[in-house]
Symmetry: D4
Amino acid sequence: MNEEFLIKLLQDIKDENISIEEAVENLRELPYQDLGFAKIDNHRQLRQGYPEVIYCAGKTPNQVAEIVKAMCARGSNVIGTRANNEMYAHVKNICKEAVYHEDCKMITVKNQPIDMTQSYIVIATGGTSDIPVAEEAAITAEMLGNKVERVYDVGVAGIHRLFHKLEIITGAKVVVAVAGMEGALASILGGLVSKPVLAVPTSVGYGASFGGLAALLSMLNSCASGTAVLNIDNGFGAGYMASMINKL
Amino acid sequence: MNEEFLIKLLQDIKDENISIEEAVENLRELPYQDLGFAKIDNHRQLRQGYPEVIYCAGKTPNQVAEIVKAMCARGSNVIGTRANNEMYAHVKNICKEAVYHEDCKMITVKNQPIDMTQSYIVIATGGTSDIPVAEEAAITAEMLGNKVERVYDVGVAGIHRLFHKLEIITGAKVVVAVAGMEGALASILGGLVSKPVLAVPTSVGYGASFGGLAALLSMLNSCASGTAVLNIDNGFGAGYMASMINKL
Amino acid sequence: MNEEFLIKLLQDIKDENISIEEAVENLRELPYQDLGFAKIDNHRQLRQGYPEVIYCAGKTPNQVAEIVKAMCARGSNVIGTRANNEMYAHVKNICKEAVYHEDCKMITVKNQPIDMTQSYIVIATGGTSDIPVAEEAAITAEMLGNKVERVYDVGVAGIHRLFHKLEIITGAKVVVAVAGMEGALASILGGLVSKPVLAVPTSVGYGASFGGLAALLSMLNSCASGTAVLNIDNGFGAGYMASMINKL
Amino acid sequence: MNEEFLIKLLQDIKDENISIEEAVENLRELPYQDLGFAKIDNHRQLRQGYPEVIYCAGKTPNQVAEIVKAMCARGSNVIGTRANNEMYAHVKNICKEAVYHEDCKMITVKNQPIDMTQSYIVIATGGTSDIPVAEEAAITAEMLGNKVERVYDVGVAGIHRLFHKLEIITGAKVVVAVAGMEGALASILGGLVSKPVLAVPTSVGYGASFGGLAALLSMLNSCASGTAVLNIDNGFGAGYMASMINKL
Amino acid sequence: MNEEFLIKLLQDIKDENISIEEAVENLRELPYQDLGFAKIDNHRQLRQGYPEVIYCAGKTPNQVAEIVKAMCARGSNVIGTRANNEMYAHVKNICKEAVYHEDCKMITVKNQPIDMTQSYIVIATGGTSDIPVAEEAAITAEMLGNKVERVYDVGVAGIHRLFHKLEIITGAKVVVAVAGMEGALASILGGLVSKPVLAVPTSVGYGASFGGLAALLSMLNSCASGTAVLNIDNGFGAGYMASMINKL
Amino acid sequence: MNEEFLIKLLQDIKDENISIEEAVENLRELPYQDLGFAKIDNHRQLRQGYPEVIYCAGKTPNQVAEIVKAMCARGSNVIGTRANNEMYAHVKNICKEAVYHEDCKMITVKNQPIDMTQSYIVIATGGTSDIPVAEEAAITAEMLGNKVERVYDVGVAGIHRLFHKLEIITGAKVVVAVAGMEGALASILGGLVSKPVLAVPTSVGYGASFGGLAALLSMLNSCASGTAVLNIDNGFGAGYMASMINKL
Amino acid sequence: MNEEFLIKLLQDIKDENISIEEAVENLRELPYQDLGFAKIDNHRQLRQGYPEVIYCAGKTPNQVAEIVKAMCARGSNVIGTRANNEMYAHVKNICKEAVYHEDCKMITVKNQPIDMTQSYIVIATGGTSDIPVAEEAAITAEMLGNKVERVYDVGVAGIHRLFHKLEIITGAKVVVAVAGMEGALASILGGLVSKPVLAVPTSVGYGASFGGLAALLSMLNSCASGTAVLNIDNGFGAGYMASMINKL
Amino acid sequence: MNEEFLIKLLQDIKDENISIEEAVENLRELPYQDLGFAKIDNHRQLRQGYPEVIYCAGKTPNQVAEIVKAMCARGSNVIGTRANNEMYAHVKNICKEAVYHEDCKMITVKNQPIDMTQSYIVIATGGTSDIPVAEEAAITAEMLGNKVERVYDVGVAGIHRLFHKLEIITGAKVVVAVAGMEGALASILGGLVSKPVLAVPTSVGYGASFGGLAALLSMLNSCASGTAVLNIDNGFGAGYMASMINKL
């Protein structure tokens, strides 16, 4: 529930477009809407400026679709992460505007126009295989109204590729470094730029990568100041936090 | 083997409804019944007040069905956990009353009426994805004769949803907190209520959740007193222990 | 080497206060000054706006003192972390203005005045035992010119203490959450405020805390958006990154 | 702040023993008392029935003594865990009644009489080396008003010792099983008794005990229903939760 | 290559049944037979008294069949572990006598009669789900000529089932304890019997069982003397070592 | 981009075979060629003497094929690791010469003749199941122009097989030891030969092998000097480094 | 309580050397003697053939001395492991015959003559630093009446040292392999000898040895059949189990 | 025992300077010299070209001194690693020429002149705190006759310091990269130079560095080809292997 929705509702009462009873019905769900299996946090947009985001993994396709339906009914934009094709099919049935981003397993619905920032976020990856996580970050940030610059495949194995893109990177207000394997990209960027770096370890790798643990520990121990770390493969979290910082 | 069964057997002897030989045959299996691959603990209901529960994972569908059959033959109620569809099909063949709870993978058979408690157990979850584990706890507790109140999707990301349900939570005799990811729900509840909190970490999450390890460690280190922890995804254990406490 | 130092040097040449040879001698060390065992990154202040920070652990007291001496000679402010009493004694010998912060094991020297920000950083702790890490963050941020508000001992075991301080917390531009044990403070703050939260797990705890691992994993898996995580006990890193964000 | 203290305060106002101003001064600290480095949760006794407990580790001796002083001033009983001799010396200086339990590193002060329960808690250990953790549980439970029966050194290496004590164990309302190494005691007790078993792994052992990890995992995976687990060496938590259950 | 084979070969030379050249051809492979992808250790039976055992996992079905073929050609009995159905199909094609034990994934071929011991090995399991690992141990031991007694499903959740079988257990020369979850069976048996106990942790369990790690650590830390531990799910290794001990 | 390609290009300009514009177009991609999702490091062959190698895992089949296409267009030899059948099908479509090595999941294309070394690399395995990793090393080394001797299935369970091959092993310039399970082969070879040993742990094994962790730790702790370790299953890395050493 | 003690007691009654009352007093402690903090398992010698062994770590010096005193009073031989100098001083005070083995931290008292076996146990170490653990095994085995042959410092870094001792090793009835670092000694011995090998990982090493974890995992994954593993540094357990096997 | 020693011995026999008996006495210890607690591998110098190196940790000072004495008696150069001051005092007593390198805890004795190589090894560190490990590598390499160039404190936090030294680094025949924290130095060097890189993780760091685990995993997962990894803090191993490669 965003502010426009709330203002319009109150205006409608004043204008006698809707009855007090109808308004009460609507406002009853201001703090959250109870679907039984889920309690949608309608208050979040007022409290934090962003709508609730749906973490789809572990939910049934029906549950995902019901939550999308309820959010659309309130005019919210929708971001769903870690959604599979079956979930999308259910969502598509009740919301034709829903888009599925297959590479990063996201569902988005734009029910309202989005104002974009002037300043931008750089999202960089160490390799091509890290792109799905980077895209989760990029699309999240864009849905939240941020200009994004993608700088992909600039890992330390061929570091001249990174230096070649240095100008665009240093021009950002905040940088997201997405890398698997040893995750050295975060330290390199942290040492080169004077802006906050959000480091996202990915599960790209094998053997002693232990599902991204190597990159995670590497990034947590970065000798370069000015970096903070997200969960493994948590592109969404990086996009969300980068948006928070970019909008300060 | 429950007390009623035992009393009736002895009465039947006294009334000469059955011969001594038949009674001996029946009593031979009082401590346990040997199926070769399994030794059903018939004594447990006398010793602990509850029948043995079948852990189905790793057993063949035939083994599961044979155990159910033997328990039904003695009139016990049956609880089977971590059962798949194929196991259920085998069970259904030999016991028409068997019910399959698909979301939490349980098989139950009610061969005897169940007395329900006045006091109740609250089972709360952090999110929607934690519901299957919570349902395992809830159905276990209900099969053991406890009134259960479900309070789902009240995690700390939108903590006002939890406060909204505080009255029903504080009215419980024991609280089960089911949560994945960082599992903070257990600490919040431990700090707010004056009743024992049983914390169940779930494997909901990804990356550095490490299959529920993050929630497990978080709950074990809760700074709030009055919480104890079950194995990851062990809804059954929580329901069982909550029942023990609720019936004190 | 800060900008003022550089401008004055060039002006001195122009004013013929120093010879070209002397200037070259000075500028030779513009990128870094080589002490043999260490290469002081004089260029950092120009590149990143902050001087190099000395990580004292693992260095000999003499090495620490030599680095401080070289930095003071260039007029830089000095921040040294993880310093013990013996290191401080050596530093004090060559620099009378050096201050030792015993609780957080830091050495600081103010050779230049520090401009303070209007906006402020909140640094919160779960308990009293987390204060040393929080102080490392606070003093770092203050040395870098940031106004800091300390909100200590507001962990989830008695959450009303946190709500009591909510106004000062929500007024911050960025929040640092320092907590050991299960580290739930970060999730609570992430769910309540609309500003970036930097989560610092501490090694406070015992047993399955595994030296801070429990809090670390908990914070990485936070279900609240808008948090990013630092290394265990890394107060310095949090203060540094908070400063970067606060100055955007 | 307990109920008696509150009732007396209000009565004093009514009887005009103290002025309104004095009462306000007292009530200002009803929710918590702010010592700067600590916020004592005075509200806890009203909310949960027990006073706040001091986790001494990581606090300075002065901080511990100040907190004890403030609690004594309000007439609360005091429990401090993980206190060393130096902390006790500081506490003793400001509170002559303070007692130090050296084996389990606890400080206790009885400022009010304690009513004891009829029902009792059994606290059992696998070996002699587990006694310090067991004593932490026992003294905590006794300070909270519970009758305690100690059954020490009854581990599975000589299981007849356990069977010899079975009567006293099965008579308890709740059982605490304290064991290191492989921690099998919890499973044995869980299989034998029909009461809730709180399992406390200890760090007793070496090598692949990994500081208690072996016992912790063992207890979490107990095949016996009716057990829940506390943190490694967390005798206090077990005593506290056992008290909660014993008083139901 | 067993002794009979060798004796017969030498006798054939003496009797001029085969030429020197043929004998050399045969003896060339006495130490090992080189198949390119594998070097079959023909010398093992002479050196250790048992033929080489085929670890099938990770080999192609063709490789498994080729090795079996070469061993059969030399008259050895064959034991193959961790074989799947496809491997068996390939083996069956070249050796009609091959038997597949589906529950424990073993292939066996008896090309020579097996003398059985008088003394026997007890193989006990905690639960029904541990049977496949126990069967791997049992069949291995039987193929190596040992009498085996199976005592299944006697875990600590219902310990009277174990005591009921105590006579048969204490009569063994060596005991194999196979258990998952918390693996307490090994400690119980170690404390009760005066014979060597070989403990085999299984991967039966979930959550904090971590694939058998909990049982493994539990068994390694057994407080009962006289136990040694095999790898998780290593029934073969236990059967092999039990045979070694049983035949002393 | 190799030196021949570069020389020919410059010669073509001189000979006026191509225009300056065409040459510029070609040279624009000298440092790297940007495909959007990937930046092919054309400079590597000049910098390191070897072309870039494609890590196929995590890339889409289309991305793999596009990279191969771009490399072939420049006349480079191509090495792709961890490729599946679908990727190969896409590559085959655009490059008929591509070869798929199914056992080690590699794609290779020889666009240029390869000079082979006189000195050779020994690649040894502990067992047959380690061969796929060994083949990845062998084919990599051969594509880079090294003579390779394969010595497979010589693990410590039958150590005479290793001694039988000692002459060929000690004749190598560098030895690659590929082994799973306990990985003792590396220590044995390190103790026997006077040449550098590159140890490659494999994920062959089960249970407490933990995906190759046991072999990895074993090799890192080798008591024999002169060994260094690669990532688990990293045959490619071993082949590449062995080539570097063999060509010194 | 050994058989001789029991026979003599009964004989004394018969001979009227002691009264029935005195005999009862003595027999009251047949199953165990309760010292409050410890329950000495007097029954063990009858049940298992060996007296209880004192695990001294974590006990107070007084507790250790009291247990030794009680055991000596019954005429048992005494084995105490992991004892420090202070414990020994207390023991020496009450038992002049007590011997302290400083290198392996054991206390022994011989109150009865010990019959030695004809067959012998070989105890081998990888290096000199493993000797303390090996000595714990050796002295335990000797106290239990076994002939022991020590073969120290024969690790795989110079494997000819091992082959030089092969005759004495292969003559043993059971072999104990004690090794740290990568623990390859166990696999080598397992592959060479046809007797059971008990593998004891030690904490000798550093870095990725992780306190003996590397050697432990290595030994658990041994590709050689006929080995079983003890806890890290558990020389006592190996000596005890070797004795059990040696006496079969 | 080096070749010169052997040749001189044989010449002495020929020249009748020593009797056959004396020569036999000397040659008896050709394979190894048995000190009881240690078997010095005299054969190693013939087999591998380098004398045995003493790993001092875990040995008594007396044992270390005895081994040094025996090696000096044979004219070997001596390298002892991880030696403390007390060990050095014992060694100094029996060998005046012994040198103690306090920063890296090494003892060296030069009994023979050392020929130095023309080509050189670069040993680089990320920070000043990594120097002790680097010095262990450097002194080992120098004792084995290699020219060494030290390039210290060139970590990625200020990467221009590394580029400034690039010429000296690329001129090496083999590079040793020593780094703690996130260990990114190895990847950077691996990407920049065309020579083998030996990566040594150090335990420098805190928190989630987990004693060097972070750097170890990072280096094992390096995305740059041409790197292999040593154990944490294993400077000796790196120096030894670098020497092997440098001398090819």
